[in-house]
């Protein structure tokens, strides 16, 4: 864990910078706005203590919020998926893989389980995010379209990044 510490700090910074400097500037008529920084929360090892997981999620969310001027929105969404992560992991994967202290990445979970894991997490995170940002259910349909399109893009980007990193 200690030797991985530097690796995780670097990953945190790289993901935040990619998010705020590149992805936040992508837009197709205001509909698609992918958020891939939650990959950091998704990839933390299963053995991580709960308070640590929640704390890191809050810090990550607040960091993105400060860059985006959306104080609290990303923090709330990220803490929510950090809280649900253990349950989602149990849902998509077998007990042995989780208890062996693995990291939930594509090589260890297998593609099918990892896909389910990413899709569920992104859908929950983005649902909270987009409705908390609009802060009303006015324009429900429009927000929903933005939510679905952005989720698809986030999922594709997250899976794509895994293929690039773990390609054999």
């Amino acid at each position: 864990m200690i030797k991985d510490f530097g690796k995780y700090i670097a990953m945190f910074m790289v993901l935040v910078l990619i998010q705020v400097l590149i992805l936040n500037n992508i837009q197709v008529s205001g509909l698609i706005n992918p958020y891939i920084y939650i990959l950091f929360i998704l990839l933390l090892p299963f053995t991580i203590p709960g308070y640590f997981l929640l704390g890191i999620a809050f810090i990550l969310g607040i960091t993105i919020d400060i860059f985006n001027n959306t104080l609290g929105v990303h923090a709330g969404a990220t803490v929510l998926i950090a809280f649900l992560r253990p349950e989602i992991a149990k849902l998509v994967s077998s007990r042995e893989i989780i208890e062996k202290g693995n990291t939930p990445n594509m090589t260890q979970l297998g593609f099918a389980s990892f896909l389910k894991y990413v899709v569920i997490c992104v859908l929950i995170h983005h649902l909270f995010l987009f409705y908390a940002e609009a802060f009303s259910f006015g324009g429900f349909i429009e927000t929903f379209v933005r939510y679905i399109l952005s989720s698809i893009f986030s999922i594709l980007l997250i899976l794509g990044s895994q293929f690039v990193i773990f390609k054999k």
Binding site: L17, N25, G30, L54, I62, I66, F67, G72, F83, F135
Partner: protein, 276 residues
């Protein structure tokens, strides 16, 4: 008491989750109420520095476009100057009274952070209180209106972009001076709605919309855009007007901050009427 502690300890994960979500919600709500949390926004130093570094790098890739834009602006200003000189008898050049301070002061600044894809978009500038920027100053570019400053730190400032549904700007149709309120529609980065224009006004697609003199922030006659289309919703007395914005928020780079030097005096005078 001890059993309470035991309960909290056993469920610390749930408790911590609820506490953090509570903090997030408080932040969302208080931010929505415009509470100016000075540190937690992109006018603070660390965030400003990151954006500025990236913007400096990005600048090199847009040098030719920026030069072309500056040259075009120079040409347009030179044309105006030439027109004034040629017609001096008709339009005598105003010699400003040096005793009186100018009504508006313009400070140039660079956009180092900007979004166009959210419902509430903000803009970050590379100048702050050290350069005389204060909250409630206007932001304009050579293409037209941009937004309003809300937060200032010593070296940076942030503001509401016109692409922010919380911002409403007094606007008028240039040719007949009828005033309305301009609010972003939240859909596309180059259209906004002009509200409160009553039914009996006559105008056409393509007419210019500019700032009205009623604003305490912007000078009169700053370009906002042109009318793209309009219709009438059943049961109302007002038009639904879509305005095509003249400012391209996707390529925004160099802007000017407008200070109304007489704003305080005017606000004070106007506040006298409130009690009556």
């Amino acid at each position: 008491m001890r059993s309470l502690f035991r309960f909290l300890l056993r469920n610390y994960y749930l408790m911590m989750f609820l506490a953090l979500e509570f903090v997030s919600f408080v932040l969302i709500v208080s931010f929505n109420n415009y509470q100016r949390v000075a540190f937690f926004n992109s006018s603070n130093n660390i965030v400003g520095t990151v954006y500025e570094r990236f913007s400096n790098l990005d600048d090199y890739f847009s040098l030719s476009r920026t030069n072309a834009r500056l040259a075009a602006e120079n040409a347009s200003l030179r044309k105006q100057l030439h027109f004034r000189i040629m017609n001096q008898e008709k339009y005598p050049i105003n010699r400003p009274d040096t005793v009186e301070a100018p009504a508006y002061i313009f400070t140039s600044a660079k956009v180092i952070g900007n979004s166009t894809n959210k419902q509430f978009n903000y803009i970050t500038l590379n100048k702050g209180s050290r350069h005389g920027i204060k909250p409630d100053m206007g932001i304009i570019s050579n293409e037209g209106i941009v937004g309003i400053i809300t937060n200032v730190s010593p070296n940076y400032s942030t503001g509401l972009s016109l692409l922010n549904k919380r911002l409403s700007i007094p606007a008028k149709i240039k040719k007949n001076n009828y005033c309305g309120a301009l609010v972003w529609d939240g859909e596309h980065y180059n259209t906004a709605n002009l509200n409160e224009i009553p039914f009996h006004i006559i105008f056409n697609v393509g007419d210019t919309v500019e700032t009205s003199g009623y604003s305490n922030i912007f000078p009169e006659g700053i370009m906002i855009g042109t009318i793209k289309n309009f219709n009438v919703e059943g049961g109302t007395n007002f038009y639904n007007i879509k305005v095509e914005l003249s400012t391209n928020f996707k390529t925004l780079k160099y802007i000017e901050v407008v200070q109304n030097t007489k704003s305080a005096e005017r606000t004070k005078l106007e506040s006298n009427n409130v009690g009556e």
